[in-house]
Amino acid sequence: MSPSGAELLRRIKSQIDEVDPSEVHELIDEGVSIIDVRGSEEFATGHLPGAKSVPRGHLESRIEGAVPDRSTQVILYCASGNRSAYAARTLQDDLGYEHVRSMTGGVALWKDRGYEVEIPRALSAEQRDRYSRHLLIPEIGADGQQKLLDAKVLLLGAGGLGSPTALYLAAAGVGTLGIVDDDVVDLSNLQRQVIHNTERVGVPKVDSAEESIRALNPDVNVVKYRTRIDASNIMEIIEGYDVIVDGVDNFPTRYLLNDASVRLKIPVVSASILGFDGQLSVFKPYDGPCYRCLFREPPPAELAPSCGANGVLGVLPGTMGLLQATEVVKLVLGIGDPAIGRLLLYDALGATLTEVKVHRDPDCPICSRDPDQITDEELGVFPDYEAFCAAAG
Protein backbone atom coordinates (compact mmCIF):
# COMPACT_ATOMS: atom_id res chain seq x y z
CA MET A 1 0.00 0.00 0.00
CA SER A 2 1.30 3.42 -0.93
CA PRO A 3 1.97 5.74 2.02
CA SER A 4 -0.19 8.84 2.59
CA GLY A 5 1.32 12.27 1.91
CA ALA A 6 1.80 12.89 5.61
CA GLU A 7 3.45 9.51 6.11
CA LEU A 8 5.78 10.08 3.16
CA LEU A 9 6.82 13.45 4.55
CA ARG A 10 7.55 11.90 7.96
CA ARG A 11 9.63 9.22 6.28
CA ILE A 12 11.56 11.76 4.19
CA LYS A 13 12.25 13.91 7.23
CA SER A 14 13.66 10.91 9.04
CA GLN A 15 16.16 10.41 6.21
CA ILE A 16 17.56 13.94 6.14
CA ASP A 17 19.13 16.38 8.57
CA GLU A 18 17.15 19.37 9.73
CA VAL A 19 18.39 22.62 11.23
CA ASP A 20 16.66 25.16 13.44
CA PRO A 21 16.39 28.80 12.25
CA SER A 22 18.46 29.96 15.23
CA GLU A 23 21.41 27.91 14.01
CA VAL A 24 20.93 29.10 10.43
CA HIS A 25 20.93 32.67 11.72
CA GLU A 26 24.35 32.09 13.22
CA LEU A 27 25.69 30.37 10.12
CA ILE A 28 24.48 32.97 7.68
CA ASP A 29 27.79 34.80 7.26
CA GLU A 30 29.91 31.67 7.62
CA GLY A 31 30.09 30.61 4.01
CA VAL A 32 27.15 28.21 3.92
CA SER A 33 24.99 28.17 0.80
CA ILE A 34 21.40 29.05 1.61
CA ILE A 35 18.93 28.01 -1.05
CA ASP A 36 15.32 29.13 -1.24
CA VAL A 37 13.35 26.36 -2.99
CA ARG A 38 10.05 28.25 -3.16
CA GLY A 39 8.66 29.64 -6.39
CA SER A 40 10.15 32.82 -7.74
CA GLU A 41 7.07 34.89 -6.80
CA GLU A 42 7.39 33.75 -3.21
CA PHE A 43 11.12 34.54 -3.27
CA ALA A 44 10.31 38.06 -4.45
CA THR A 45 8.17 38.71 -1.37
CA GLY A 46 11.20 38.37 0.90
CA HIS A 47 13.97 35.85 1.52
CA LEU A 48 16.76 35.04 3.97
CA PRO A 49 19.73 37.39 3.60
CA GLY A 50 22.10 36.12 0.94
CA ALA A 51 19.83 33.25 -0.10
CA LYS A 52 19.79 32.14 -3.71
CA SER A 53 16.58 31.18 -5.45
CA VAL A 54 16.40 27.65 -6.89
CA PRO A 55 12.69 26.72 -7.16
CA ARG A 56 12.11 23.07 -6.30
CA GLY A 57 10.70 22.43 -9.77
CA HIS A 58 14.08 23.40 -11.25
CA LEU A 59 16.22 21.88 -8.52
CA GLU A 60 17.95 19.19 -10.56
CA SER A 61 18.76 21.49 -13.46
CA ARG A 62 19.80 24.61 -11.56
CA ILE A 63 21.42 23.58 -8.30
CA GLU A 64 24.84 23.12 -9.86
CA GLY A 65 24.76 26.70 -11.06
CA ALA A 66 24.03 27.90 -7.52
CA VAL A 67 26.20 25.38 -5.63
CA PRO A 68 28.87 23.91 -7.91
CA ASP A 69 30.82 22.17 -5.15
CA ARG A 70 29.05 19.13 -3.70
CA SER A 71 31.04 19.28 -0.47
CA THR A 72 29.64 22.72 0.39
CA GLN A 73 27.33 23.03 3.39
CA VAL A 74 23.89 23.63 1.94
CA ILE A 75 20.82 24.76 3.85
CA LEU A 76 17.50 24.57 2.04
CA TYR A 77 14.34 26.31 3.14
CA CYS A 78 10.84 26.93 1.88
CA ALA A 79 7.70 28.45 3.45
CA SER A 80 7.16 25.89 6.22
CA GLY A 81 9.91 23.28 5.97
CA ASN A 82 8.15 20.62 3.90
CA ARG A 83 9.15 21.32 0.31
CA SER A 84 12.71 21.91 1.50
CA ALA A 85 12.68 18.47 3.13
CA TYR A 86 11.85 16.80 -0.18
CA ALA A 87 14.42 18.94 -1.95
CA ALA A 88 17.07 18.05 0.63
CA ARG A 89 16.44 14.33 0.06
CA THR A 90 16.89 14.84 -3.69
CA LEU A 91 20.16 16.75 -3.28
CA GLN A 92 21.49 14.23 -0.83
CA ASP A 93 20.38 10.93 -2.34
CA ASP A 94 20.09 11.66 -6.07
CA LEU A 95 22.62 14.44 -6.67
CA GLY A 96 25.34 13.51 -4.21
CA TYR A 97 25.51 16.68 -2.10
CA GLU A 98 27.35 15.73 1.08
CA HIS A 99 26.17 18.27 3.66
CA VAL A 100 22.54 19.16 3.09
CA ARG A 101 20.09 20.30 5.71
CA SER A 102 16.52 21.55 5.62
CA MET A 103 15.48 24.46 7.82
CA THR A 104 12.57 23.55 10.11
CA GLY A 105 9.52 25.77 10.02
CA GLY A 106 10.67 27.53 6.85
CA VAL A 107 10.66 31.26 6.36
CA ALA A 108 7.48 31.51 8.47
CA LEU A 109 9.29 30.35 11.62
CA TRP A 110 12.34 32.45 10.64
CA LYS A 111 10.16 35.57 10.64
CA ASP A 112 8.37 34.54 13.87
CA ARG A 113 11.76 34.50 15.54
CA GLY A 114 12.22 38.11 14.44
CA TYR A 115 15.07 37.48 12.00
CA GLU A 116 15.59 39.76 9.05
CA VAL A 117 14.35 39.05 5.52
CA GLU A 118 15.62 40.72 2.38
CA ILE A 119 13.14 41.98 -0.16
CA PRO A 120 14.81 41.65 -3.56
CA ARG A 121 14.57 44.80 -5.58
CA ALA A 122 13.23 44.36 -9.02
CA LEU A 123 13.31 46.78 -11.92
CA SER A 124 9.90 48.24 -12.66
CA ALA A 125 8.25 47.48 -16.00
CA GLU A 126 9.19 50.96 -17.13
CA GLN A 127 12.80 50.47 -16.08
CA ARG A 128 12.97 47.13 -17.87
CA ASP A 129 11.91 48.95 -20.98
CA ARG A 130 14.10 52.02 -20.49
CA TYR A 131 17.24 49.97 -19.79
CA SER A 132 16.40 47.07 -22.10
CA ARG A 133 19.56 47.56 -24.21
CA HIS A 134 21.63 47.22 -21.03
CA LEU A 135 19.67 44.18 -19.89
CA LEU A 136 20.49 42.49 -23.18
CA ILE A 137 24.24 42.74 -22.54
CA PRO A 138 25.38 39.80 -20.38
CA GLU A 139 28.09 41.94 -18.71
CA ILE A 140 25.39 44.30 -17.43
CA GLY A 141 21.99 42.62 -17.15
CA ALA A 142 19.53 43.32 -14.32
CA ASP A 143 22.23 43.06 -11.62
CA GLY A 144 24.47 45.54 -13.42
CA GLN A 145 21.60 47.92 -14.01
CA GLN A 146 20.79 47.75 -10.31
CA LYS A 147 24.43 48.62 -9.55
CA LEU A 148 24.15 51.66 -11.80
CA LEU A 149 20.89 52.70 -10.11
CA ASP A 150 22.58 52.35 -6.72
CA ALA A 151 25.71 54.25 -7.78
CA LYS A 152 26.56 57.73 -6.55
CA VAL A 153 28.75 59.67 -8.95
CA LEU A 154 30.01 63.21 -8.35
CA LEU A 155 30.72 65.53 -11.25
CA LEU A 156 33.09 68.40 -10.61
CA GLY A 157 31.90 70.98 -13.08
CA ALA A 158 28.84 71.09 -15.34
CA GLY A 159 30.88 72.59 -18.14
CA GLY A 160 32.55 71.17 -21.24
CA LEU A 161 33.47 67.77 -19.85
CA GLY A 162 30.71 67.60 -17.25
CA SER A 163 27.89 68.23 -19.73
CA PRO A 164 28.16 65.09 -21.90
CA THR A 165 29.27 62.99 -18.93
CA ALA A 166 26.22 64.00 -16.90
CA LEU A 167 23.81 63.41 -19.77
CA TYR A 168 25.08 59.94 -20.62
CA LEU A 169 25.42 58.83 -17.00
CA ALA A 170 21.86 60.00 -16.42
CA ALA A 171 20.67 58.14 -19.48
CA ALA A 172 22.51 55.02 -18.31
CA GLY A 173 20.57 55.16 -15.05
CA VAL A 174 23.25 56.18 -12.57
CA GLY A 175 20.95 56.71 -9.61
CA THR A 176 22.62 59.66 -7.90
CA LEU A 177 24.49 62.40 -9.74
CA GLY A 178 26.10 65.11 -7.62
CA ILE A 179 27.05 68.25 -9.54
CA VAL A 180 29.40 70.93 -8.22
CA ASP A 181 29.46 74.22 -10.12
CA ASP A 182 29.11 77.83 -8.99
CA ASP A 183 28.80 79.33 -12.45
CA VAL A 184 25.83 80.47 -14.52
CA VAL A 185 25.21 79.53 -18.14
CA ASP A 186 26.86 81.92 -20.59
CA LEU A 187 26.16 82.14 -24.30
CA SER A 188 29.82 81.31 -25.04
CA ASN A 189 29.40 77.99 -23.17
CA LEU A 190 26.83 76.66 -25.62
CA GLN A 191 29.37 75.87 -28.37
CA ARG A 192 30.18 72.73 -26.31
CA GLN A 193 28.25 72.54 -23.01
CA VAL A 194 25.34 70.56 -24.40
CA ILE A 195 23.48 70.02 -21.13
CA HIS A 196 22.52 73.73 -21.16
CA ASN A 197 20.55 75.63 -23.78
CA THR A 198 19.91 79.09 -25.17
CA GLU A 199 16.83 79.72 -23.03
CA ARG A 200 18.81 79.06 -19.88
CA VAL A 201 21.57 81.64 -20.39
CA GLY A 202 22.01 83.33 -17.00
CA VAL A 203 20.62 80.34 -15.06
CA PRO A 204 22.91 78.60 -12.54
CA LYS A 205 24.57 75.66 -14.27
CA VAL A 206 23.56 73.23 -11.53
CA ASP A 207 19.89 74.15 -12.03
CA SER A 208 20.13 74.02 -15.81
CA ALA A 209 21.87 70.62 -15.65
CA GLU A 210 19.25 69.30 -13.24
CA GLU A 211 16.47 70.32 -15.62
CA SER A 212 18.05 68.47 -18.56
CA ILE A 213 18.72 65.38 -16.45
CA ARG A 214 15.17 65.30 -15.07
CA ALA A 215 13.76 65.55 -18.58
CA LEU A 216 16.00 62.71 -19.74
CA ASN A 217 15.61 60.30 -16.84
CA PRO A 218 13.42 60.80 -13.77
CA ASP A 219 15.14 57.83 -12.05
CA VAL A 220 18.15 60.04 -11.36
CA ASN A 221 18.45 61.89 -8.08
CA VAL A 222 20.40 65.11 -8.74
CA VAL A 223 22.32 66.59 -5.80
CA LYS A 224 23.33 70.18 -6.49
CA TYR A 225 26.29 72.01 -4.99
CA ARG A 226 26.28 75.60 -6.22
CA THR A 227 29.71 76.37 -4.91
CA ARG A 228 33.40 76.32 -5.78
CA ILE A 229 35.15 73.37 -4.32
CA ASP A 230 37.95 74.34 -1.94
CA ALA A 231 39.90 72.99 0.99
CA SER A 232 37.17 73.98 3.43
CA ASN A 233 34.32 72.05 1.79
CA ILE A 234 35.87 69.27 -0.29
CA MET A 235 35.89 66.49 2.30
CA GLU A 236 32.26 67.12 3.16
CA ILE A 237 31.15 67.24 -0.49
CA ILE A 238 32.96 64.19 -1.87
CA GLU A 239 32.51 61.79 1.04
CA GLY A 240 30.06 59.00 0.25
CA TYR A 241 30.42 59.13 -3.53
CA ASP A 242 31.53 55.97 -5.35
CA VAL A 243 33.29 57.67 -8.25
CA ILE A 244 34.30 61.27 -8.95
CA VAL A 245 34.50 62.75 -12.43
CA ASP A 246 37.12 65.47 -12.65
CA GLY A 247 36.44 68.04 -15.32
CA VAL A 248 37.71 71.11 -13.50
CA ASP A 249 39.53 73.87 -15.31
CA ASN A 250 42.36 74.67 -12.93
CA PHE A 251 45.34 73.00 -11.29
CA PRO A 252 44.74 73.97 -7.66
CA THR A 253 41.41 72.16 -7.65
CA ARG A 254 42.84 69.14 -9.45
CA TYR A 255 45.55 68.71 -6.81
CA LEU A 256 43.09 69.38 -4.02
CA LEU A 257 40.69 66.80 -5.40
CA ASN A 258 43.49 64.29 -5.78
CA ASP A 259 44.63 64.62 -2.21
CA ALA A 260 41.13 64.45 -0.73
CA SER A 261 40.07 61.53 -2.93
CA VAL A 262 43.21 59.54 -2.01
CA ARG A 263 42.43 60.16 1.63
CA LEU A 264 38.87 58.85 1.16
CA LYS A 265 39.97 56.17 -1.36
CA ILE A 266 37.47 57.32 -3.99
CA PRO A 267 38.46 56.67 -7.62
CA VAL A 268 38.67 59.71 -9.88
CA VAL A 269 38.09 59.63 -13.63
CA SER A 270 40.12 62.56 -14.86
CA ALA A 271 40.23 64.30 -18.21
CA SER A 272 41.49 67.60 -19.52
CA ILE A 273 41.20 69.40 -22.82
CA LEU A 274 42.99 72.15 -24.66
CA GLY A 275 42.62 73.19 -28.25
CA PHE A 276 42.45 69.95 -30.21
CA ASP A 277 44.06 67.77 -27.53
CA GLY A 278 42.66 65.72 -24.68
CA GLN A 279 44.10 63.62 -21.85
CA LEU A 280 42.35 60.95 -19.81
CA SER A 281 43.30 58.68 -16.93
CA VAL A 282 41.68 56.88 -14.00
CA PHE A 283 43.23 57.44 -10.57
CA LYS A 284 42.18 54.66 -8.24
CA PRO A 285 43.82 55.32 -4.88
CA TYR A 286 46.32 52.65 -3.80
CA ASP A 287 45.45 50.41 -6.76
CA GLY A 288 47.25 52.67 -9.17
CA PRO A 289 49.07 55.99 -9.32
CA CYS A 290 47.45 59.26 -8.23
CA TYR A 291 47.45 62.61 -10.01
CA ARG A 292 50.54 63.69 -8.07
CA CYS A 293 52.38 60.51 -9.11
CA LEU A 294 51.74 61.54 -12.72
CA PHE A 295 52.30 65.29 -12.41
CA ARG A 296 54.52 66.06 -9.44
CA GLU A 297 54.05 69.80 -9.85
CA PRO A 298 51.75 72.01 -11.86
CA PRO A 299 53.48 73.90 -14.66
CA PRO A 300 54.16 77.63 -14.35
CA ALA A 301 51.63 80.04 -15.76
CA GLU A 302 53.13 80.34 -19.25
CA LEU A 303 52.79 76.58 -19.66
CA ALA A 304 49.44 76.39 -17.86
CA PRO A 305 47.03 78.23 -20.08
CA SER A 306 44.19 76.76 -18.06
CA CYS A 307 44.55 79.69 -15.67
CA GLY A 308 42.64 81.83 -18.13
CA ALA A 309 40.07 81.30 -20.87
CA ASN A 310 41.33 79.28 -23.80
CA GLY A 311 40.13 78.00 -27.08
CA VAL A 312 38.82 74.48 -27.41
CA LEU A 313 37.27 72.61 -30.29
CA GLY A 314 33.57 72.37 -29.38
CA VAL A 315 33.20 68.63 -29.95
CA LEU A 316 36.41 67.73 -28.06
CA PRO A 317 34.90 67.85 -24.55
CA GLY A 318 32.17 65.60 -25.96
CA THR A 319 34.76 63.01 -26.97
CA MET A 320 36.73 63.23 -23.74
CA GLY A 321 33.65 63.52 -21.51
CA LEU A 322 32.18 60.36 -22.97
CA LEU A 323 35.45 58.50 -22.51
CA GLN A 324 35.11 59.57 -18.86
CA ALA A 325 31.48 58.42 -18.70
CA THR A 326 32.55 55.05 -20.11
CA GLU A 327 35.23 54.65 -17.44
CA VAL A 328 32.69 55.55 -14.73
CA VAL A 329 30.26 52.89 -15.94
CA LYS A 330 33.08 50.30 -16.05
CA LEU A 331 34.18 51.16 -12.51
CA VAL A 332 30.60 50.93 -11.19
CA LEU A 333 29.99 47.60 -12.91
CA GLY A 334 33.46 46.22 -12.23
CA ILE A 335 33.99 45.24 -15.86
CA GLY A 336 36.74 45.73 -18.42
CA ASP A 337 40.13 47.37 -17.93
CA PRO A 338 39.79 50.92 -16.67
CA ALA A 339 42.56 53.33 -17.65
CA ILE A 340 44.36 52.89 -14.32
CA GLY A 341 48.11 53.47 -14.63
CA ARG A 342 47.68 54.68 -18.20
CA LEU A 343 47.31 58.14 -19.67
CA LEU A 344 45.47 58.35 -22.97
CA LEU A 345 46.35 61.25 -25.24
CA TYR A 346 43.80 62.08 -27.89
CA ASP A 347 44.78 64.28 -30.83
CA ALA A 348 41.60 65.31 -32.59
CA LEU A 349 43.33 66.82 -35.62
CA GLY A 350 45.48 63.78 -36.23
CA ALA A 351 42.69 61.37 -35.18
CA THR A 352 45.21 59.49 -33.05
CA LEU A 353 45.12 58.03 -29.57
CA THR A 354 48.49 57.59 -27.86
CA GLU A 355 48.96 55.83 -24.55
CA VAL A 356 51.75 56.25 -22.00
CA LYS A 357 52.32 54.36 -18.77
CA VAL A 358 51.82 55.99 -15.38
CA HIS A 359 53.54 54.50 -12.36
CA ARG A 360 52.98 54.91 -8.67
CA ASP A 361 55.69 57.19 -7.34
CA PRO A 362 57.26 55.59 -4.25
CA ASP A 363 58.04 59.13 -3.08
CA CYS A 364 54.59 60.53 -3.83
CA PRO A 365 53.86 63.13 -1.13
CA ILE A 366 50.28 61.86 -0.87
CA CYS A 367 49.67 58.27 -1.94
CA SER A 368 52.91 56.82 -0.60
CA ARG A 369 51.37 57.32 2.86
CA ASP A 370 48.41 55.89 4.72
CA PRO A 371 45.19 57.80 4.09
CA ASP A 372 44.76 58.70 7.74
CA GLN A 373 48.19 60.36 7.79
CA ILE A 374 47.11 62.93 5.20
CA THR A 375 46.12 66.03 7.14
CA ASP A 376 43.62 68.76 6.32
CA GLU A 377 46.47 71.27 6.09
CA GLU A 378 48.17 69.32 3.29
CA LEU A 379 45.19 69.03 0.97
CA GLY A 380 45.90 70.65 -2.37
CA VAL A 381 49.12 72.28 -1.22
CA PHE A 382 51.97 72.93 -3.63
CA PRO A 383 54.49 75.71 -3.99
CA ASP A 384 53.47 79.17 -5.10
CA TYR A 385 50.56 78.21 -7.24
CA GLU A 386 48.17 81.00 -6.37
CA ALA A 387 50.88 83.44 -7.37
CA PHE A 388 51.29 81.74 -10.76
CA CYS A 389 47.61 81.95 -11.56
CA ALA A 390 47.38 85.52 -10.31
CA ALA A 391 50.28 86.44 -12.60
CA ALA A 392 48.51 84.84 -15.53
CA GLY A 393 45.41 86.88 -14.81
Binding site: G160, L161, D246, D249, L274, P298, S306
Partner: protein, 91 residues
Protein backbone atom coordinates in the same frame (compact mmCIF):
# COMPACT_ATOMS: atom_id res chain seq x y z
CA UNK B 1 67.17 60.92 -35.49
CA UNK B 2 64.38 60.49 -32.93
CA UNK B 3 60.90 61.97 -33.21
CA UNK B 4 59.71 64.30 -30.47
CA UNK B 5 55.98 64.82 -29.94
CA UNK B 6 55.37 68.40 -28.93
CA UNK B 7 52.47 69.20 -26.55
CA UNK B 8 50.05 72.01 -27.44
CA UNK B 9 51.59 74.50 -25.01
CA UNK B 10 55.06 74.14 -26.59
CA UNK B 11 54.05 74.18 -30.23
CA UNK B 12 54.40 77.94 -30.56
CA UNK B 13 58.05 77.51 -29.55
CA UNK B 14 58.75 75.11 -32.43
CA UNK B 15 56.97 76.98 -35.20
CA UNK B 16 53.61 75.28 -34.66
CA UNK B 17 54.83 71.74 -35.37
CA UNK B 18 53.30 68.74 -33.55
CA UNK B 19 56.38 66.61 -34.13
CA UNK B 20 60.00 67.52 -34.67
CA UNK B 21 63.13 65.44 -35.21
CA UNK B 22 66.20 65.70 -32.97
CA UNK B 23 69.46 63.79 -32.60
CA UNK B 24 71.33 62.37 -29.66
CA UNK B 25 72.44 59.18 -27.95
CA UNK B 26 70.22 59.63 -24.93
CA UNK B 27 67.14 61.52 -23.78
CA UNK B 28 69.16 64.45 -22.42
CA UNK B 29 71.09 64.88 -25.68
CA UNK B 30 67.96 64.67 -27.82
CA UNK B 31 66.21 67.31 -25.71
CA UNK B 32 69.34 69.51 -25.76
CA UNK B 33 69.35 69.19 -29.54
CA UNK B 34 65.69 70.28 -29.58
CA UNK B 35 66.53 73.26 -27.37
CA UNK B 36 69.45 74.20 -29.66
CA UNK B 37 67.16 74.23 -32.72
CA UNK B 38 64.29 75.91 -30.88
CA UNK B 39 65.77 78.05 -28.09
CA UNK B 40 62.34 79.06 -26.77
CA UNK B 41 61.88 75.50 -25.48
CA UNK B 42 65.02 75.53 -23.34
CA UNK B 43 63.66 77.24 -20.24
CA UNK B 44 60.42 75.31 -20.54
CA UNK B 45 62.21 71.97 -20.48
CA UNK B 46 65.23 72.55 -18.27
CA UNK B 47 65.71 74.18 -14.91
CA UNK B 48 68.69 76.44 -14.20
CA UNK B 49 70.74 73.46 -12.93
CA UNK B 50 70.27 71.59 -16.20
CA UNK B 51 67.77 69.06 -14.89
CA UNK B 52 64.39 68.45 -16.48
CA UNK B 53 61.77 70.68 -14.94
CA UNK B 54 59.70 68.77 -12.42
CA UNK B 55 56.47 69.69 -14.17
CA UNK B 56 57.56 68.19 -17.49
CA UNK B 57 57.10 64.48 -18.05
CA UNK B 58 59.08 62.79 -20.81
CA UNK B 59 58.25 59.37 -22.18
CA UNK B 60 60.44 57.20 -24.37
CA UNK B 61 57.83 55.59 -26.56
CA UNK B 62 55.22 54.73 -23.89
CA UNK B 63 57.52 54.58 -20.84
CA UNK B 64 58.21 57.37 -18.35
CA UNK B 65 61.95 58.12 -18.46
CA UNK B 66 61.82 58.57 -14.67
CA UNK B 67 61.49 54.78 -14.32
CA UNK B 68 64.21 54.26 -16.95
CA UNK B 69 67.50 56.11 -16.61
CA UNK B 70 66.11 59.66 -16.76
CA UNK B 71 68.08 61.95 -19.05
CA UNK B 72 70.69 59.17 -19.45
CA UNK B 73 68.16 56.80 -21.04
CA UNK B 74 69.50 55.61 -24.40
CA UNK B 75 67.53 56.66 -27.45
CA UNK B 76 67.61 54.64 -30.67
CA UNK B 77 66.86 55.56 -34.25
CA UNK B 78 63.12 55.53 -34.75
CA UNK B 79 62.27 56.02 -31.06
CA UNK B 80 59.65 58.56 -30.14
CA UNK B 81 59.92 60.95 -27.21
CA UNK B 82 56.68 62.36 -25.83
CA UNK B 83 56.96 65.64 -23.90
CA UNK B 84 53.99 66.07 -21.62
CA UNK B 85 53.23 68.88 -19.23
CA UNK B 86 50.02 68.65 -17.21
CA UNK B 87 46.88 70.18 -18.73
CA UNK B 88 43.99 71.38 -16.61
CA UNK B 89 41.36 72.59 -19.06
CA UNK B 90 37.91 71.14 -18.56
CA UNK B 91 35.28 73.69 -19.23
Amino acid sequence: MATIKIPPVLRASVGGEKEVGASGENVGEVLRDLAASHPATESQLFSADGELNRYVNVYLNDEDVRVLAGLETAVGEGDTLVILPAMAGGS
